[in-house]
């Protein structure tokens, strides 16, 4: 055997031995006094992650006997992971979830009942929060989570592009008819090469968790809804719903005011488009413009972007985003976990989160601070909270919306006619709800 071969063999054997050894030795975990595992998808983000870690440091310095272990997780991973962990009684002690899956986790028994803790607080403790989020987080008369971010969905537009198209930036579209007209005028070829390079509007029509938020304002303001009030039947065959559906689909197919490939866009793609001045309007909330700003500092998002209420249809209404802190039902340290949750949703820290991340919380006392009221985006978002509604809080909601998103994609891409796609979705939702009964 040649020298190189021998060398190769040695290297490989060393590697293998090392690997086998290391795979069995695992870093020892020291026995701390009290450790709380804290999981939140924002921990992987640059700005928000830093903000959270600072908050953690503040908490630890005030509570020397408690150590917080941050467990970053990506947005898409969180539901499968938390579910598996809950089933094995190993869920992180404090976890953040949002509206989309909260109902499911409550029903699975994967959220601790916070009512006893709240009852021990001074009287009027809960008055600092809006009633609406608190009501949503109450399951069978028990409070199962503490509300955190609470934002309304608004229209975001680029004032410079408005002006370039001959539209007055101080007059955003008020009705859907105006919106369509504006979008048409904002879809143009800006560099004269014969190809469209700017579109009036864009939306993330791929199947992503952000889509419901952007569709619901359309649907609700047309006076329609996905399911009936009692949650027992599909309401997708009403004339109002058909009108709303056709309106959205025709933005892409008839008026062509959205960029090609809209059914593959995620929220991030739309933000990129806005950052690059490819689109003039989008639907979003407080989190939008810091991200857009980071994507393209030259855009000067803070100056150039504006927020306006969602255009009116038959109703003045918009969608809301709500996320909340959940305590694991199997936590070994419920008292300390409550302390941490209370800290994270305190006035001081919610104010900090606003300063760092520009998100509105569910605390009335923070939203009425001058800091928030003078911010040009937050001002609109807080005002719109008045007519904000949350998506239906039933276990089958993800599946119901998936049927709608399928229909939307089929209609926009021409796989089925608009009528057919909607009819099929309606039938599917009826079938889903029939299971419930």
């Amino acid at each position: 055997m040649s020298a190189t071969d021998r060398l190769r063999r040695t290297v490989l054997c060393a590697l293998v031995a090392g690997a086998l050894l290391l795979s069995v030795l695992t870093p020892a975990r020291s026995g701390e006094a009290v450790t709380l595992r804290f999981s939140n998808w924002h921990l992987v983000e640059d700005v928000w992650g830093r903000s959270l870690r600072e908050a953690i440091n503040i908490f630890e310095s005030r509570n020397p006997g408690i150590r917080i272990i941050p467990e970053p997780i990506s947005y898409g991973e969180k539901e499968p992971r938390y579910q598996a962990e809950c089933a094995a009684r190993r869920m992180p002690d404090v976890v953040k979830l949002h509206n989309f899956s909260l109902a499911m986790f409550f029903e699975l028994g994967c959220a601790a009942d916070l009512t006893p803790f709240v009852q021990r607080e001074p009287a009027g403790f809960l008055k600092a929060w809006y009633e609406f989020p608190l009501k949503m987080l109450t399951h069978r008369e028990r409070l199962m989570a503490m509300p955190d971010d609470f934002q309304s969905i608004v229209l975001i537009y680029n004032r410079e592009l408005f002006r370039a198209a001959g539209l007055d930036p101080a007059k955003p579209p008020r009705t859907w008819a105006e919106f369509q007209e504006y979008a048409r005028r904002l879809t143009r070829d800006t560099d004269g090469d014969g190809r469209l390079d700017q579109w009036g509007f864009s939306m993330p029509a791929s199947k992503n968790p952000g889509l419901p938020l952007r569709i619901m304002p359309f649907v609700w303001s047309f006076g329609a809804d996905f399911i009936t009030e009692d949650g027992r039947r599909s309401a997708m065959n009403t004339p109002e719903f058909r009108e709303a559906f056709r309106f959205i689909v025709e933005l892409a197919t008839v008026h062509r005011v959205v960029p090609p490939g809209v059914t593959t866009f995620g929220p991030q793609d739309v933000r990129i488009q806005m950052a690059q001045r490819r689109i003039a309007m989008k639907i979003g909330s407080g989190w939008s413009y810091p991200i857009v700003n980071a994507l393209n500092p030259q855009l000067n998002a803070a100056e150039v972007l504006e927020a306006a209420p969602i255009p009116k249809g038959r109703k003045t209404i918009t969608a809301a985003w709500l996320d909340a802190w959940i305590m694991s039902p199997h936590t070994r340290y419920p008292e300390e976990a409550w302390k941490f949750i209370k800290f994270l949703s305190s006035k001081e820290i919610e104010k900090k989160f606003f300063e760092d991340n520009r998100v509105i919380s569910s605390r009335k006392d923070v939203n009425t601070l001058p800091l928030v009221r003078t911010d040009k985006f937050s001002r609109v978002i807080v005002a719109e909270l008045e007519h904000a509604r949350l998506e239906p809080f039933i276990k089958e909601w993800p599946e119901i919306f998936d049927a709608f998103a399928t229909a939307l994609q089929e209609a926009i891409t021409g796989a089925k006619s608009t009528e057919r796609a909607l009819l099929d979705a309606h039938a599917k939702v009826e079938e889903i709800l029939a299971r419930r009964r």
């Binding site: 071969d5 190769r8 290297v11 490989l12 590697l15 293998v16 090392g18 690997a19 086998l20 290391l22 795979s23 069995v24 695992t26 870093p27 595992r37 999981s39 998808w41 992987v44 983000e45 640059d46 272990i69 941050p70 467990e71 970053p72 997780i73 990506s74 947005y75 898409g76 991973e77 499968p80 992971r81 579910q83 598996a84 962990e85 089933a87 094995a88 009684r89 190993r90 992180p92 390079d197 968790p209 952000g210 929220p267 991030q268 933000r271 990129i272 950052a275 690059q276 490819r278 989190w287 991200i291 980071a294 994507l295 393209n296 030259q298």
Partner: protein, 279 residues
């Protein structure tokens, strides 16, 4: 090469084919490389920017320095290498057993092994998580290795049995005459002759363990156990995808596999010539 001396056209055809396939294979990598050298804004330009104006290694620096890549690399390497070695060894043992022995219920056992390969990961992950927790192997590298072994063993066994079947039994007999026991035949005769198969198995198992996402994300929770693939996947967040960093991470993540391949390819291409037919 006989082909070239008799059919020069054939050689040209071969190289042309290689060129086309080469473009198909390499183009995404080229794109990944170019993107990793751009600034974030540049990566998102329309019309598409091919060559970065000012190439920068910033993405690579961030991935290594700020994001703790060293630990991820260690975890990935340890777990993948262990999986690879163990699955090829155990698979070879089993393959040998299936090949050389008239076991009662052999077809059933072989079928069983193959069937376990067919269970979708999604189903198995949840209950497996519970099992691991119960025995205290949750969030450990050992737990991961065991999990990956269950995915790699079936194909390792089947593959190696296929290769071992190709080793003539006469060689076994010859070794018997020389006084070898079954295990001796295994290590001295069979294993060296199926080296290409072993190497192939090691490579597969390594790559499978390295590139896994579902198991790693469910069976670990601490920072200390994160693997390279998990770290890369986490750069794709809900609100934010940093393309240069993602590409840089993916490219660096591919290097150990290539290194392993380079180290082992000698045995992959070794023929049946060494010492076999010599009586």
């Amino acid at each position: 090469m006989r082909l070239s001396s008799r059919f020069p056209v054939a050689t040209v055809a071969v190289y042309a084919f290689l060129a086309i396939v080469g473009i198909y294979i390499l183009f995404p990598f080229l794109w990944m490389l170019l993107t990793s050298l751009k600034s974030e804004t540049e990566a998102l330009e329309i019309p598409v920017v091919w060559l970065p104006d000012r190439p920068t290694l910033k993405a690579y620096v961030i991935m290594w320095v700020r994001k703790n890549y060293g630990v991820y690399f260690l975890n990935s390497t340890v777990v993948s290498l262990s999986t690879a070695v163990l699955s090829s060894f155990l698979g070879a043992l089993a393959g040998y057993g299936f090949s050389r022995f008239a076991l009662r219920g052999r077809g059933f056992l072989m079928g069983f092994v193959l069937t376990t390969q067919m269970l979708p990961g999604v189903l198995v992950v949840g209950p497996y998580f519970k099992t691991l927790s119960a025995v205290g192997l949750y969030d450990t590298r050992t737990g991961l290795v065991i999990a990956f072994l269950t995915i790699c063993l079936p194909f390792a066994t089947w593959m190696l049995k296929g290769f071992i079947d190709g080793v003539p039994r006469e060689l076994d007999d010859a070794a018997r005459v020389d006084g070898c026991g079954w295990f001796g035949i295994f290590t001295r005769i069979v294993l060296p002759l199926v080296m290409p198969g072993i190497v192939a198995t090691i490579l597969f198992a390594f790559l499978l363990a390295w590139g896994d996402l579902l198991w790693v994300s469910t069976l670990t929770h601490s920072e200390a156990m994160v693997t390279v693939t998990l770290a890369i996947a986490r750069t794709v967040q809900e609100f934010y995808v940093n393309w240069p960093e993602l590409m840089a991470g993916a490219l660096i993540g591919g290097i150990p596999s290539i290194v392993l391949y380079l180290l082992m390819q000698r045995w992959l291409v070794q023929g049946l010539t060494a010492g076999a037919i010599k009586q």
